[in-house]
Subunit: 245 residues, 2 copies
Amino acid sequence: MIGCRCPVCRSDDPRDKRTRSSIYLSMPEFKILVDTTPDLRHQALREDLDRAYAVLFTHPHADHLMGFDDLRRFCEMQGGPLPIYGSEATLAQIERTFPYAFNPAKKVPGYVHVIPHVITGPFELGGLEITPLPVPHGAVSTLGFLFSQAGRKLLVYLSDCAAVPDPIRELARGADVLIIDGLREKPHPTHLNVSGAVEAAQAIGAGQSFITHQTHEKSHVDRTQELPPGIGVAYDGMKFEFELH
Amino acid sequence: MIGCRCPVCRSDDPRDKRTRSSIYLSMPEFKILVDTTPDLRHQALREDLDRAYAVLFTHPHADHLMGFDDLRRFCEMQGGPLPIYGSEATLAQIERTFPYAFNPAKKVPGYVHVIPHVITGPFELGGLEITPLPVPHGAVSTLGFLFSQAGRKLLVYLSDCAAVPDPIRELARGADVLIIDGLREKPHPTHLNVSGAVEAAQAIGAGQSFITHQTHEKSHVDRTQELPPGIGVAYDGMKFEFELH
């Protein structure tokens, strides 16, 4: 955190270098980015990404959106506009913030250009079934996502939620991997705290669960040690492999 | 650059790791940030910044603005709203993009909160005289800045300009240091190219001049070698010391 001298912010453990929450799904023929954080360029360079055929948005808060203009590189490399997916409210907010990326009167080579797609229910991209999981996040709602393939629930991503309502727990139940908001110990009005994340993760019962969107309160090692079996801590650059059919 | 395999993007020379253009002025009792790039958090962590008492904006394009929300940390550490300075058009655009930071009905602890100040002419901050230098940047105008102290011209910063009009050259003349837009070799509609930057720098005749806002076209070493005496290449983390009176 800017200006912070705490042991976690000064840690040499790369897992304590926490950039803003985002995930990237890489299939043989399709690549999906979830959110465009202000760290997008750094994350893309670090992971050597050169493709993103679709971008999903959980919600349009600054820490999930403000790297949006860096999508220009994917438009440039892929030679066309980029489909983006989000709730109607999210897409409207993105268009208010980056109007030049939507239906530009003049298409400037090298500029970001997107085609918005409102998420109204489950949809398919690159052979994955994507089920939106609306969850409360203070005054707004965010979308989590369930990624399935051939009826198998592979991954549930719930990056920003103050609670996980029962119907969403039901949809998430039995996934291979769950990544879930677990901001800090003290309760927070718009995020699950660690004990709330643990409660929801245990109720959902994924094969493996990981908390994300953490503050600098605890180091990776210290936070990991206090969590019950089956629940770990996500970190920058963490990777999962899934067998696709 | 995202997805690029060129020798400059793959270079191990830290001077070839180019984040978005921004400068920071540190006086004993006052600190000024110029622009809030999407890289602001990374830049602030790299340089271990913990104060910014005022923020100047050259213009509100994404590569100069989208780290704005990270100003929240300076508000939090300094315990109050942050004065920001820019042209009327720039401040209006920032307010459209980040309305929650301006006169929030509900002040949320930890959120960014700014007090806008329209730049209409020279002003003073932290003992420095700041002279705005309007320069053309395609369809818009950006502000460069001349920083002086006790009548001495210390630094001229012209990060984004397609040309430097004569009255601005006159104001900049004789500064100790000039930092000037020099995007690439090929002409560009909104930026000076290298030869344009060299021509303007030689006309201005600063003690030392440095080109900035470069693409990945040439490495730091290669670009430096082709420049005439007295003109160098700015790089991330470059520092200048000035004697203040």
